[in-house]
């Protein structure tokens, strides 16, 4: 198996990662109702935490969308990073309180295979946060991870879209999960995960 750099015997070196939290699906809050508003994601590593902005949609029906990239540092030997979905609620005394809703663990092996600069499109099962005992499944989160220390991205990216804004939307043959990489600075907005493609009706 082509394991570049981190063999099973060697612990992973320290890395800088660009994690884009794209969206989540089927997320429910503690009461069992679908996540409504104010959802944001936080990427935790052993040495840093980086939140995204809150989803601006007034009611995302459990399908929040961010497509926001954050940078985190992963210390050497760290086995994983965590992605947590939280929501901001009006706490007591008027100050907003953060309520963790669901979280997923991303093992380092999942983004250390393949060449450096490879954009890893990953999806994980979310589990309820802040509950001891039985952890209930709570939807799915879609992220992309790219290692940004070291070599620049290796993909052939000679831009050649014809005139007009090329719309990169979720492909038609897929499970409806969109793994759009709206990497900062690339300047090409991807259509949101929920964009209807105009392809088959069926559902």
């Amino acid at each position: 198996m082509a394991r570049e750099g981190s063999g099973t015997a060697m612990p992973a070196p320290a890395m800088t990662l660009e994690v884009t939290v794209v969206s989540a699906e089927g997320v429910r809050v503690a009461s069992g109702r679908p996540l409504c508003r104010g959802a944001y994601a936080v990427v935790h590593t052993a040495s840093s935490s980086a939140p995204t902005r809150a989803d601006a949609d007034a009611d995302c029906h459990g399908f929040p969308y961010w497509a926001e990239a954050v940078r985190v540092a992963l210390p050497a030997g760290a086995p994983a990073l965590d992605v947590e979905i939280c929501r901001a609620r009006a706490g007591s005394g008027g100050r907003p309180a953060a309520e963790p809703v669901a979280a997923a663990r991303v093992p380092v092996e999942d983004f250390t295979v393949g060449p450096p600069g490879h954009l890893h499109c990953l999806s994980y099962r979310l589990f309820d946060s802040g509950r001891c005992g039985v952890r209930r499944r709570n939807g799915i989160v879609n992220i992309t991870v790219r290692r940004i220390d070291g070599a620049p991205p290796a993909q052939g990216k000679a831009p050649a879209p014809p005139a007009g804004k090329a719309v990169d939307a979720a492909g038609p043959s897929g499970s409806g999960v969109s793994c759009c990489a709206a990497a900062a600075g690339r300047g090409k907005p991807a259509a949101p995960a929920g964009a209807v493609m105009g392809y088959p009706v069926g559902c």
Binding site: A160, K165, S173, S175, G176, P200, V201, C203
Partner: protein, 578 residues
Amino acid sequence: MGNCCSDEAGHGGAHPVGPAAAKAAQAASAAADRFLRSRGAGASTQIELSLSASNLGDQEYFPKSNPMVVVYSKRKDGPLEEIGRSEVTLNSLNPSWMTKISVQYQFEVLQPLVFQVFDIDPQLHDVSEKMLKLEEQQFLGEATCLLSEVVTKRDRLLTLKLGVSEHNLPNPSKFGELTVQAEESAGSKAIMEMVFRCSDLEIKDLLTKSDPFLLISRISDSGMPVPICKTEVRKNDLNPRWKPVILNLQQIGSKENPLIIECFNFSSNGKHDLVGKIVKSVAELENMYHRQNGEHFFVPASNAHECHSKEVLKSQLYVEKYVESNRHTFLDYISAGCQLNFMVGVDFTASNGNPRLPDSLHYIDPSGRPNVYQKAILEIGDVLQYYDPAKRFPSWGFGARPIDGPVSHCFNLNGSTYQPEVDGIQGIMSAYISALRNVSLAGPTLFGQLIGTAMAIASQSLADNQQKYFILLIVTDGVVTDFQETIDAIIRASDFPMSIIVIGVGGADFKEMEFLDPNKGEKLESSTGRVASRDMIQFAPMKDVQGSGVSTVQSLLAEIPGQFMTYMRTREIQTVSI
């Protein structure tokens, strides 16, 4: 699942369309089903061929020539069927015909084309091309090629030597050359992104909630509405603004064709009430956007309380956004140099039966009739080989014991210790046959190592900056024993440029393999909580298909362009400019 409508209500099941008459609803579902099967963003697209020729005829004896070319498609072992013919070019031995011939490109089938060039009698220069009787004209040469051979060329240009006819036409003494250039028709690339908004929706029944969604249909030749796409459901919203809808010009024909836009009130029991309807063409919608005009919904007469006229509602539809652009299609990537690399894994488990006995699935018939394994490999390989100029195919076997060795779950079919590649489809066949003599069938049926090895090749290709997409075909006679390991391997592989096709042969019950079928199984989940981020594996049992119709193998191949495009789009991989 091919559906990509964002139905935010989160319900997973299929729901019929509206309370229209049962027959119309059935027709709509059948049409939607056909759409589902023909999906794939480029699995089927219209191509226009431009033709030219040089050095036609014998300059010494026939200095003047009025050539015309006729294009046929060759049905499987069948007669030629004319697709089109060019105009007659007067007095030229190096014609460049203006008429473009339209062909429907289908990724999943071999599409042989036959070109015949004729010299038209100058006395017939007034007769329309269609009326010309070809048997009476001077034959100048014939050429054959596959449509996939043309579109996989760098500039979609293929030059063929004209030669003798295989179809009983008298031969000229000297032959020239024919050049075929393929171009995707403009409609296939043009897409329109629109955002719709409604005001003041009236839901008649005050007791139900208002959860509106839009369904957009085009009108087929027979007058029946054919659904094209729908928006997500907006919950409890009387002034909904839906997420963008993207339409492809090829789906609707032309911007002037009328579209039916119906607003339904979503109901979880599947019986959605029609709220209102609008009929507008895309050109009119564009107009509505520019002028920010609204258009009132109406309720057709049969649904309205008054039975004699349609009822115009106060709710209006607005077009908040309208953007036209061009998308990259599957063929754009192919012509830009993206290759599809075929890889094969063959099941050598003991359940296949002793290969020397005629009832074994691995029996090599001395008459040359292919066994099921050979058939599966040939059907898929024959189509895919044209998308790989080098035609070096990694081939493996699994579940067998090479001579004096332990059971291997991934051994090179060519017998080499170092590298798994063979040359061409014939290379796969010879390696397969010789492997059968050199290994003892064993077991169990494990896919994990095979998928991992294929994934390593895909990963290495990425590291080498190659524009390759890999398609691994696994032919097996049984059910996998390592479910979780297979799932883990598939999920890891989904992050790389590859697709997996699994074909089940023989009479086993493949019910437990349905977990690989995206239409039947659930989302694949690994042992570490990771789920597949895209659909890249399919399974189907290979049935003996008699007669016409889409074979199992064809429907598996038809998914590939869509899976390829999903991979490319989500990673924003651009095609390299030519």
